[in-house]
Structures are given as structure tokens and as C-alpha cells.
Point group: C2
Chain length 331, copies 2
Amino acid sequence: MEKNRRTLLASRPVGMPVAENFRLEEAPLPLPAEGEVLVHVDLISLDPAMRGWMNEGTTYMRGVALGEVMRAFGAGRVLASRHADFAEGDYVSGLTGVQTHACLPGQQLTRLDLSLGPLEWHLGVLGMPGMTAYFGLLERGQPKAGETVFIAGAAGIIGATVGQIAKIKGCRAVGTAGSEEKCRYLVEECGFDGAINYKTENIEARLKALCPKGIDVLYDNVGGDILDIGLAHLARGARVVICGAISQYNEPQMRGPRNYMKIVTARATLTGIIVFDFQERYSEAIAQLSEWLKNGQLRTRTDFVEGIENFYPALMKLYTGTNFGKVVLKI
Amino acid sequence: MEKNRRTLLASRPVGMPVAENFRLEEAPLPLPAEGEVLVHVDLISLDPAMRGWMNEGTTYMRGVALGEVMRAFGAGRVLASRHADFAEGDYVSGLTGVQTHACLPGQQLTRLDLSLGPLEWHLGVLGMPGMTAYFGLLERGQPKAGETVFIAGAAGIIGATVGQIAKIKGCRAVGTAGSEEKCRYLVEECGFDGAINYKTENIEARLKALCPKGIDVLYDNVGGDILDIGLAHLARGARVVICGAISQYNEPQMRGPRNYMKIVTARATLTGIIVFDFQERYSEAIAQLSEWLKNGQLRTRTDFVEGIENFYPALMKLYTGTNFGKVVLKI
């Protein structure tokens, strides 16, 4: 009989996660109770926020308990349903966890429309990262045509989507990435006006050259030095949108933005984006994003890793910057 | 014949200013050109922002040049006027500099109405600090009755005024200060709901006790650890208003707020206050503040230091926290 293969949080990482923080085990297939749905998880999403979930006290969700299945967004097909809204064969997404089979209450699942794009897009550009890019840029960043949008950490799924939406809205888009190949991707495939290789280039000099009128919207996924350099170049009235701080998640202590007084002198504002605040508008964003995907104004890229046993190396792609596009674990 | 005694910036401080950074000299009395006004400076305002003005590149104004009169707000009476709007004997304020006599274009001076309060108030509660408190709290902080306003650095002129306005608006006011005496002053004279001695008390524990529902408006004058503790206790939807960072001005490198991700998870916003942005509304604020002063809802306190030769010790009161109320140098 088929088993559930699941990855547990075995111990809490201190700094960078190590393989031993996770344990893969086999368990009997769960059986759906009344109102529940059994899902075969085809794809598991790897997200920077996972590092926070591994901590005891977390930022906006409780931490994963030791011995509990590691939290993750996933997508797959319904094997059995005891919820009126779902039937066998439906494709769904939700917080499935890092496992091959998940049993979840129907109200925690979202039915997916595969006519909008392949399953992996529903964990990426049409899923939480796409929603985060869309509402973070448009609602929090309030970009106006002709303005300059600077994306710190642009080659991930969120950053690349933010930059492309900025271009669609008539803005200048400039971002940072960690390799020549990623920078080429941003300019040639995503239509960015410029991309800075933060590992090899003088970020400040390139930023000045690429954003001669300063930064109107700073969309930050990374924190640390790049955020500081960005702050130093804010234009008057700029909006700073904090989405993440991937450079800091594995540090023993967060480093704050040293140049935060620039927010004062530039008459800027700093806010953050928590995607769940826009839940009732996801369908609007999905409709708009899939229209842009269909007419070729928006492109997206998935970095597949095969096999649930490769959860740890897939995760580390994020924290070492070796991913290229949205990292998805294929079961 | 009378001379002008003036204090020049002799060298730029590295870290904490030293006496040798300033030089007192005598010069002939300046003569007003057409459109100018000669003022006898009676009072000179000591402001935390002065530390920034001593640097070469400053935050929002050019730095004072070496050998130039140290920049300062001052108030005094007109000795001679070649500007139609001013006459001998008028009381005025402006950027007079640290000197006994200043010659300034009339349009750079403000005529003072001493029926509203004594001259020193026009450098304090009715001057720039009062304007900064008023617009910083009401416009940037947007406090609503019943909310909690936390003031990091509350015993200075700005902080004490912010807390009292918060009380007038029906808010809870809690602040930090550096001595028992200052804490008593905030609670007993200014009507704060609580004051935390940051030098002797467990700030975090006291903050939790005094702000049980979290902080709705964080008005920050200090930066550093206290800002971080405040951020950790933001209520959902909080407004963070950055006014200054006095704990950081004399540090070799600014330290950023480590807990800035709390702004994201609390759905808070961070902005700053630059008082000059509200110039056309100063008269509104002065009218309101003097009404509150007259009916006893607002109190203020001046810390006089006598003699222009005591500019340096007066300045150091600010950076060592030994001032009590608005520091003013009396000529």
C-alpha cells in the first residue's frame, strides 16, 4: 500500500540550515475526515520565508514544532474528497507541507484553473510570490509612469515579477542579482532597464548611473548593504516596500538599515507587504497576471529540483543564491 | 565701540564634539545692507541637529564651513533695520548663528509676538521644536483618541511637547528619559501615563507594562536600542515617526533599527518629520500651542546657560542628556 513520505523539522537551525535539521520518514497515508480532502502533492514551493518558520518565535506565523512536517506551500491533485467543493482529480494548492500526501480541510485549499498556466505557475507567478509582487508593488509602492523602481534581489520570482509589472506600468526598472547570467536574464528576458551584479560590480556607482534621478520605489527582498545603498539614493517622496531580508535570515542577529535617516530627509515612507492582507483580491491579480502572461508582457521561469529527498539542497539554492527563478520541488 | 562676539567652527568633530572644535573671536559689528536687519542676539537655541551641521556632508542642509560662524537658531531685538517689515526694537528669530550680533536679510527673519509668551518660548515650544512636535505627532503620527503614543527621548522640548499634545488628544502617553527627576517631571508636570528611566530600568519589561495594547504611535528622537525595543512592541497599523537619533549622532557609524521587519508584520508605516515642510502652517500651530499654554494644558521648561563663552558646555548638555527642558544660551 502507498505510503506518505514526509519531511519533518528535526532540530532548529542556528544560522544557515544544515541537512540534519530535517528528517524524511514514511508514514501511513492519512485518511480524510468529514470536510477534509486528501491531496497528492505534485509540487512543493521553496520560499525564503521558510527560514523564519523554522524558528521558535516567528514573525507572523507560529513556528513549525519540532517533529512536525516542515511547512510549505504545495500544489497537486485531489485523490479523495469529503468536502463538497472538491472532487477527485481537481488540482489544488495550499499549505500542504513538505510531504507527498496531505490531508487538509477543504476551506484551506484553493482550486486551481490549469487553463491559466501550468501547475508550477500556481506556486509562482500566479501563486503567493506573484500576489506578493503584484500587491507589494502596486498597492504599497504606488508606482507612477516615468518613475524609477529599484528591486533589491531581482532575479527571484518576486523580484523579476515586480520589475516586469513596473515596466508594464511605464516605470524604469533596475535590480540587483548575483550572477552575470541572472543580470542578462533580467535585461534581455524581463526587459529591465539595468541589472547590477552585486557580487562583482560597484553597486553604488552602477546604481547612480542606472537611476540618475534617484529611486522612487525601493522594493527590497534582501536587506543589509544593498538596502542601505538603495536608501542613500531615494528620490524625494520615495516609497520603500520591505518584502523580505534574505541576506539577514541566517545571521545570528538582524542588521538594521544604517541609512534609515534618509527616509526622513527624502520625505519617504517605509511599509511592508504581507500578502495575506490582500486575500480577497487574489482573483483580480490572477486574472491580470495571466492576461500579461498570455500576451507575452510577463515572463516567468521555474527552477525544478526532483524528488522529495532533495528538499534540503532545493532550500539551500535560495539561501546561496544559486536558484534561477522560482524553486519548486517536483515529487 | 561694541564688538560682535562670535563662535566659529574651527574643526570638524570626530565622534563627540570637543571644546577645540569651536573658537570664540571678536569682530567688528556688521552693518546692514539694503534689505538687511541688524539683530542683537539675546538667546541662542541648542538643538540636537547641530551635530549634523558640523559634518561636511549633512542630511538636509549643507554643513557649516570651517571658519564660519556656527549655525544656530537665535532670537533677539532689532538694533537697526533696512527692511520695510522690521523696525528698531522689534523682536525676531532666525538662523542667527552663535554670535552676539547678526545681520540677516529681512525675509529670513520671523517677527515674534511676545504677548504669546517669553522670548525663550519662541525658540522652544513656540519655535522649531514646538512646530516639530506638533506636526510630527499630528500630521505624521495621526494619533486617535484611546491610542498609545510612545516617545523615545521624552524629556527634551520636543518629546515633552509631543506627550502633552498626545494627552490633549485623548491618547495614552509613555516616554523614556535618563533620570528619576526627568521621569517624575514627565508624569507629574506633563501628565504622562508613565515614564521609563532608560538608564536604570528594564525598558522592555516596563514598556510592556505601560503599553499593554502595544504602541500605536512611536515618536522617536533617539534611535539605537530604545527604537528597537519600541519597534518590537508596535501594535497593528502603528505609525513610526522618526524625528531624530540623538544616541547615534556621535557614533562613528549609525546603527540601523534591527527590528525593522516588525514594521512589516505589524502592518506599520515609518515616516519622518522635517519641520520646514509645514512652514505655511506655523501660525496655526503657534495659535493652538499658545492657547494650550494659556489654559494650562501645556507646560514647558527652559534650561538656561549664561554667556556665549559657554556654548560648548551648553551643547554638551544635549549629548550627555544632562539638560532639563529646552537648552538656551543667554547672551
